[in-house]
């Protein structure tokens, strides 16, 4: 995956009204967002697409299904 460029971050920030985002801030945001999005892509590429079977509303239900039985 290509990294998210600072100039793209600045454009996105401006489009969302964040005029304060300068070049330095855009670089930090780009680095953080690139790493985060890369983890999603890597998880999908690792054959985990089959894991896309639940929506987020199912997370608590999954936790409860996997709960430890009483000792």
């Amino acid at each position: 995956m290509d990294k998210i460029e600072a100039k793209a971050v600045m454009a996105l920030a401006r489009a969302q009204g964040h005029a304060w985002v300068d070049e330095a801030a855009a670089q930090r945001i780009a680095a953080g967002a690139t790493a985060a999005v890369a983890a999603v892509e890597a998880s999908l590429r690792q054959g985990e697409a089959g894991l896309l079977i639940d929506d987020s509303a199912g997370f608590l239900a999954t936790l409860e299904q996997l709960a430890e039985p009483p000792r």
Binding site: I4, A8, V9, L12, A13, Q16, G17, H18, W20, V21, A24, A25, Q27, R28, I29, A30, A31, G32, A33, A35, A36, V37, A38, A39, V40, E41, A42, S43, L44, Q46, E48, G50, L51, L52, I53, D54, D55, S56, G58, F59, L60, A61, T62, L63, E64, L66, A67, E68, P70, R71
Partner: protein
């Protein structure tokens, strides 16, 4: 043993049996706060007058033979992000939107009903975004064991205050390690419960999918008592679980003979400092001597979990902070401003995928790990507690790397939503505390507490107190 070194359960029992008054306990804490606060800056507000009045009411109730809750007359203090209608929380900022912080925390309501006394509100990182304890607006919280060092964060005041014996228990929040890291750095226990086990209603949201309130205390039994009071379904929080709440305090006595403690073969022990590794190894030997069975465990795909968590945290934080940040960016410190805005550059599809992957990745993790062991054992913080200067990177290019080192062993379990407990296990070569972490199946806090109790009952690291710095 002097009063401040009693555990929460010991002091609650002493108040109930009229061995000591609540007023005496509160005065003892307030006297220590006067000495310690200028040195470690653990508190945002010290509620001396209201705490004294509450203590007098508690003592009168005992004399009158009124029904007493399990925390009757016991002084606690909490991260300044649990709301009360009677005051405005700082949220670690000088710039919080006026509407934020309105309402009433369900968690504080349960503690009130149990008879607890709130002695103050605790320092925290700005908007709970930061693992170090720096705070440009409220002043940095410092480690009571050595004030040049960080207390870690974001619930920095919780670790520092409980270690310094300024209260008998505290609540913070844990979205990436924000309870476990300060607990480890300050030498106390820190519990991050299973997501959904404790209500979020009336607590400042950072990332509601990932946030969970957590507990600081000085013994497993103390954690168990506090946890048993706040755990369980809350009609005000649709994300809270309705599963029955076990008797955590009774469960700490279950013993650990035959319990399988998993030692990760991959990722979590890679690159940790040698003195941290030695303490963690020693803690495993103690657990084995107490009857636990050590089992090597291969952890499935741990390397992406922290970043997957960040997708959720940053997207949700940007959604929450976006409108205020757009108009008041100068009121945020540089690092927090950038971190709160990182979600602006995370595509909606990536956020949705991270949410959709979460149940499946959790299921795979639980099946792979907890089919082989009852609890996973790993470091909480893989390096000795650094200094304030070493971690004062602001919004510089070094920011992400510094954060990643600190949360490497904690943030994965926020994505997975699993319970995790940090337990003190000695001191590194720089004289600062370190801890190991126990991670369990969903809702397996009772198992983690029983292991911690068996360990700490022998080593008693959590009973060691820092000396007042000169």
């Amino acid at each position: 043993m002097s009063l401040e070194n009693w555990s929460l359960v010991e002091v609650a029992d002493a108040i109930r049996s009229r061995l000591v008054t609540s007023r005496e306990v509160v005065e003892s804490c307030l006297a220590r706060i006067v000495d310690w606060q200028p040195r470690i800056n653990a508190f945002v507000a010290i509620l001396a007058d209201s705490a004294r009045a509450a203590a007098d009411r508690a003592d009168a109730a005992i004399v009158a033979g009124s029904p007493l809750g399990p925390l009757h007359g016991v002084p606690l203090a909490h991260k300044d992000m649990f709301f009360r209608a009677s005051r405005r929380s700082s949220l670690g900022s000088h710039n919080a939107p006026p509407a934020w912080g309105a309402g009433e925390s369900s968690l504080l309501g349960r503690l009130d009903a149990a008879g607890a006394i709130e002695i103050g509100t605790l320092n925290m990182c700005e908007f709970a975004l930061g693992p170090t304890g720096h705070n440009a607006w409220l002043g940095d919280c410092r480690n009571p064991w050595h004030t040049d060092h960080i207390a870690c964060g974001s619930s920095s005041g919780g670790g520092a205050a409980i270690a310094a014996r300024l209260a008998f228990g505290a609540f913070g929040s844990d979205t990436g390690g924000s309870v476990r890291l300060p607990a480890s750095a300050c030498g106390v226990l820190g519990l991050k419960p299973t997501n959904g086990r404790v209500t979020l209603a009336g607590m400042m949201p950072l990332s509601p999918s990932v946030d969970v309130p957590g507990i600081f205390a000085r013994s497993a039994r103390d954690v168990a008592r506090l946890f048993g009071i706040v755990a369980g379904r809350d009609a005000r929080d649709p994300r809270s679980s309705g599963l029955p709440v076990p008797d955590y305090e009774a469960s700490v006595e279950h013993g650990i003979v035959g319990l399988r403690v998993g030692v990760p073969r991959n990722y979590f022990l890679e690159g940790i400092a040698s003195d941290v590794a030695e303490r963690v190894e020693e803690s495993l030997r103690v657990l084995a001597e107490r009857g636990a069975v050590l089992v090597p465990v291969e952890v499935p795909a741990p390397e992406h979990l922290t970043e997957l968590s960040r997708v959720l945290v940053y997207a949700e934080a940007a959604a929450i902070h976006g409108p205020w940040l757009r108009e008041h960016s100068e009121g945020y410190s540089p690092q927090v401003r950038v971190r709160a805005a990182t979600g602006l550059a995370i595509p909606a599809a990536a956020y949705q995928q991270a949410q959709q992957l979460r149940p499946g990745i959790l299921r795979r993790f639980v099946e792979a790990v907890f089919s082989r062991c009852d609890a996973l054992h790993l470091p909480t913080l893989g390096i000795p507690v650094p200094t304030l200067a070493e971690t004062d990177v602001g919004g510089s290019a070094a920011m992400w790397e510094k954060i990643a080192v600190l949360v490497r062993c904690t943030a994965p379990f926020n994505y997975l939503g699993l319970p995790a407990l940090s337990v003190p296990c000695g001191f590194t070569d720089n004289g600062l505390p370190t801890g190991f972490q126990l991670v369990g199946r969903p809702f397996a806090e009772a198992t983690l507490l029983s292991i911690a109790h068996a360990y700490d009952g022998v080593t008693r690291w959590s009973r060691r107190a820092p000396s007042l710095p000169s």
